[in-house]
């Protein structure tokens, strides 16, 4: 399989990449690790005229601490995140989640920025990004802004990113003792259902992926939780339109969402 013809431009800075996005509009796509974009181009589901490679832009692949946040550059690979002592020490649930993505080879190439921008409804990161209350730092030619995780995921492969913006970093509040549990699709290891739960000052925060068109914060579970995991987990799909496909019907997915939420809450201890 060969993608449709396109022009390839390697950007050497964020401003150059943003200039190219402004110039080419919807005809341009950003390429980082390429593990979401390239398969869709090969299958001709996606036929950008211009591919802007941001994979080698300096400064986008570092992980650092900023007060109570761990700041992860958009080009950090899943392997980098899984093995980073800063991530393991600050927000270990994210390192553990990164370790669950795909396989060794995919983790060596795929990036957090690419995964979040792609917004696959079955991706792993969004559950943790939501539960941890992370902020997505994006930049456009008009300047920088940050988007709360709860405002970022809008639908199937749809995010709050404008077409002339790119993700530059993810700011994840530090936490301890969070868990991410998923029911994996047996071949792809994508989440049929995935639940992240993190303790916070007022109780727990819960993010669910794989269940609906996009990952969501299970606020009904959070407000119902008073120590009884099963009772709170019963609210996992309140107000949610649950997806059904050839892997799991919507009824089965709703059941799995409750089961995995209960298990995640129990695992928090």
């Amino acid at each position: 399989m060969i993608p449709a013809k396109f022009e390839y431009i390697k950007a050497s800075s964020v401003s150059e990449a943003l200039g190219l996005l402004d110039k080419h509009g919807d005809e341009a796509q950003l390429l980082s690790g390429g593990h979401s974009l390239i398969p869709t181009m090969k299958l001709r589901l996606n036929q950008p005229k211009v591919v802007v490679d941001i994979g080698k832009i300096p400064g986008l692949n570092s992980i650092s601490e900023d007060g109570s946040n761990v700041v992860i550059g958009a080009n950090c690979t899943h392997h980098q995140i899984a093995t980073s002592s800063v991530v393991q020490g600050g927000v270990n649930v994210l390192a553990q989640t990164a370790k669950e993505i795909g396989d060794i080879q995919v983790r060596n190439k795929g990036t957090i920025g690419g995964s979040l921008a792609h917004a696959d409804p079955a991706a792993d990161y969004p559950a943790v990004i939501l539960a941890s209350g992370a902020k997505i730092e994006v930049e456009g030619s008009g300047g920088k802004r940050t988007i709360d995780a709860t405002d970022f995921f809008l639908g199937i492969f749809e995010t709050a990113l404008e077409s002339n913006e790119m993700i530059t970093a993810v700011h994840v509040p530090k936490s301890s003792g969070g868990v991410y549990l998923k029911f994996s699709q047996p071949a792809s290891r994508f989440a049929v259902v995935g639940c992240a739960a993190i303790k916070n000052d007022s109780g727990v925060s819960v993010g669910l992926t794989g269940v609906a068109g996009c990952a969501y914060r299970a606020s009904a579970v959070e407000s119902a939780y008073n120590g009884d995991a099963k009772a709170a987990a019963a609210h996992a799909v309140d107000g949610v339109e649950v997806m059904g496909d050839n892997f799991a019907s919507s009824k089965y997915r709703a059941h799995l969402a409750k089961v995995f939420t209960e298990r995640a809450l129990n695992a928090l201890g």
Partner: protein
Amino acid sequence: MKINLKVNGKDHTSDVEPMMSLAAYLREVLLLTGTHVGCDTSSCGACTIKMDGKAVKSCTILAVQADGCDITTIEGLSQNGEMHPLQASFKENHGLQCGFCTPGMIMTAENLLSENPNPTEEEIRHGLEGNFCRCTGYHNIVKSIQHAAESN
């Protein structure tokens, strides 16, 4: 588009179309046909190579993305005519049947052992989750990797 890269220690300069995958470049331009293409969608792992020291699936990387990179393919593992310990162990332990998945299995195993020189059987099996063997010969593949780890 012009690219410069190092493959198995040798510098190459080529002019490639942006749409060409790295796997196709290695096979069709450099004639390094040890890198196989199976699913062509980053599921099966037959196209696994090392790029700047890390195992990656070359069917899902554009050749132009490899500009400036250091690539190792299965052909680059043996030194001075001596098989790499993993190659020798696969031979010794019947780690291959039809052999199609073998180059990818070995390149992934090499990455696994470089990060975890003494993996448990479970860690090996998890480490191979991105590599399919259509002969279902996983048992001896795992055994081969265990033996290679022990003999190192």
